[in-house]
């Protein structure tokens, strides 16, 4: 039931995103790494595809071994986020994600999860409270419902920090009876032992901190976390990523470290890894961890005449996923700017002599006058920017 609902929700997200604003942006990418502990074929490939709409994001990825025949495992993940009421005081974010692995020598197992977040958002900082429901399958264990969590974030110019905490409880087999999700050897037990003496109750507290910085063509991100449990020693992990934009649609990146335990669901081992990859798109990041409501802001803008009635609108918006402009010259319909380099975006528009009203929007947020532009009343109780063309 929950899997069906999740599949339908994820399937509908790109269409809803397209309906809500400008057409969604599609990103493709690939990462590769070598994992000595992965049995069979240590060379792994991780293709990804992302659909980014004004108020929604859908990310899909797969994990394939280098040798199809010898692959002891294949994995896939699908995740989506949708922002409801982005202009309201308490916007709600619906997130869903699913992990699945399985193959000839690997029993099918995975996890589906749906989460609702209530956001308290200001332009430069915010917090959220979340409630989530998880439905694992193919594992010997149960997760008590519901999960609860909270998080907070802040951003200034190209620097952003985020912290989140999640509390869950569940039932697991005693250590002697428990199989590991990281083991790739043989089929796994899919049910809890019938003897209550062989079952233990666990409480898990997961925390995670993220620091992201980008300037120009370079973006650096460091993510670390720890999972605390009464039954097991603390599980710590940390991963660093560096991304360099080479052209407007081509970015290379490299990562090093250990991954979020959630990803072990589709990965063969939890050993530290180094990976390299590339992304083909204007989109800077395929991460769904940051709240959709945590948006970048426009730090600079200019309007310059190209020739005749053609003008270039240039915008600087560090960390933005999406920048749009609208005004009388677009018949008040959103026009997506092209990402050129780093934090720079631009669009070429036709401006006839006269005065033109203009507003900008970043990452599906509120429409605002461009910073530094003259303003005027708009007749609907708001303010718009003005461009004067002689």
């Amino acid at each position: 039931m929950i899997r069906t609902a999740l599949a339908l929700a994820l399937f509908a997200m790109p269409f809803a995103a397209a309906h809500a604003g400008t057409p969604p942006l599609v990103t493709t990418g690939m990462a590769g790494w070598y994992d000595e502990q992965a049995p069979g074929a240590p060379l792994l490939l991780g293709p990804t595809v992302a659909v980014d709409g004004t108020h929604g994001v859908l990310v899909g990825g797969a994990l394939l071994s280098g040798s199809e025949m010898g692959a002891p495992y294949r994995g896939a993940r699908l995740a989506g986020g949708w922002l409801i009421g982005p202009q309201r005081h308490l916007p709600i974010e619906i997130k869903a994600r699913a992990f699945h692995r399985g193959g000839p020598a690997d029993p099918e197992q995975g996890l589906v999860r749906i989460e609702a977040r209530v956001n308290f958002a200001a332009p430069q900082a915010g917090a959220w409270m979340a409630i989530a429901k998880e439905q694992p399958y193919g594992f010997a264990g149960q997760i008590a419902q519901p999960l609860i969590g909270f998080g907070t974030w802040a951003r200034h110019d190209g620097l952003s920090v985020m912290f989140d905490l999640e509390q869950r409880a569940g039932l697991l087999p005693q250590p002697s009876k428990r199989d590991s999700v990281r083991s790739a050897e043989g089929p796994r037990a899919a049910v809890l032992p019938s003897d209550p003496q062989e079952i233990m109750r666990v409480g898990l507290t997961s925390t995670r901190a993220t620091v992201h910085w980008d300037r120009g063509r370079l973006a650096l991100e460091s993510v670390g976390g720890v999972t605390l449990s009464l039954a097991k020693p603390p599980k710590r992990w940390a991963e660093a990523t560096a991304a360099l934009q080479l052209t407007s649609n081509f970015t290379v990146f490299g990562t090093f470290g250990t991954r979020d335990p959630e990803l072990y669901l589709i990965e063969p081992s939890d050993s530290p890894r180094s990976s390299v990859g590339f992304r083909l798109s204007q989109w800077r990041s395929a991460s769904l961890d940051a709240p959709l409501v945590a948006r970048a802001s426009v730090t600079g803008w200019s309007a310059r005449r190209l020739e005749g009635e053609s003008w270039t609108l240039a915008v600087r918006a560090p960390g933005a996923r999406l920048v749009e402009v609208q005004g009388d010259f677009t018949d008040w319909q959103p026009l997506r700017l092209d990402h050129t380099f780093g934090d720079k975006w631009k669009a070429v528009v036709a401006l006839m002599p006269g005065v033109h009203q203009v507003t900008l929007r970043v990452d599906g947020g509120a429409w605002m006058p461009p910073p530094g532009a003259p303003t005027t009343a708009d007749g609907f109780g708001g303010t718009v920017g003005v461009v004067a063309v002689e």
Binding site: P353, G354, V355, P374, T376, G379, V386
Partner: protein, 219 residues
């Protein structure tokens, strides 16, 4: 011709005239702008179009009216609010045209309408035209509307732009003044004080004292 056939002929002629009049009105009525039909509900589009046609008959630029309706649709304004905003813009455009004179460009009229809607009095626009009888008023009007939008008292904003125009300030310098006033306001300086101080530091000589105190009316 008998009285009976005379009445029949008159009736036929009347019916023909009525049909021709209906046909003429149907032919002469321009179709509603496609953009309005696509973005507004039929009733609102029709109401807006009536305002547009009336404005056109008065020689007022009509594209700003259509764009205002589209802006309202984009901002999810209620239909009655959209029609009211279009009427308000139409009245402002007509007033601006009357004040600036028939030689004014559509851009100047649109900018002046924006200033009027921001609260700038007609008298200020008339004096601005007197100061610049030939030159374009586009930039002074944009700066004036911006200062008023940023809570500079109307009297102070009017004085600043009129004074700058009287001294033959170039448009680029006027835009620079606006930009610096905006920066000062962001740093916490009161809008009126920022305007007066920047007017004096732009090499425009001693600016006249504003007619009201900095804490005066704000539109």
């Amino acid at each position: 011709m008998s009285a009976r056939s005379w009445r029949a002929a008159c009736g036929a002629a009347f019916a023909l005239a009525a049909a021709l009049a209906w046909l003429a009105s149907a032919v002469s009525a321009a179709p509603i702008d496609k953009r309005l039909v696509e973005r507004l509900d039929p009733t609102t589009a029709e109401e807006v179009w009536k305002v547009v046609e009336a404005a056109e008959a008065q020689g007022v630029p009509t594209d700003p009216l259509i764009v205002t309706a589209l802006e309202g649709a984009s901002k999810h304004a209620r239909p009655e609010r959209i029609v009211a905003a279009v009427r308000e813009r139409s009245a402002a455009l007509l007033a601006a045209k009357e004040v600036l004179g028939p030689e004014s460009t559509p851009g100047e009229i649109a900018a002046a309408a924006g200033a009027l809607m921001s609260g700038v009095p007609r008298d200020t626009l008339a004096r601005l035209r007197q100061e610049r009888p030939k030159g374009s008023l586009l930039v002074p009007l944009v700066v004036l509307a911006d200062l008023v939008t940023r809570q500079v008292p109307i009297e102070t904003a009017s004085m600043a732009v009129l004074h700058a125009s009287r001294l033959g300030t170039r448009d680029a310098d006027l835009l620079r003044l606006r930009s610096r006033v905006e920066g000062d306001i962001r740093r916490g300086v009161s809008p009126a004080a920022a305007t007066i101080a920047r007017l004096q530091t732009l090499g425009l000589g001693d600016a006249p004292a504003p007619p009201t105190s900095p804490g005066g009316s704000h539109r």
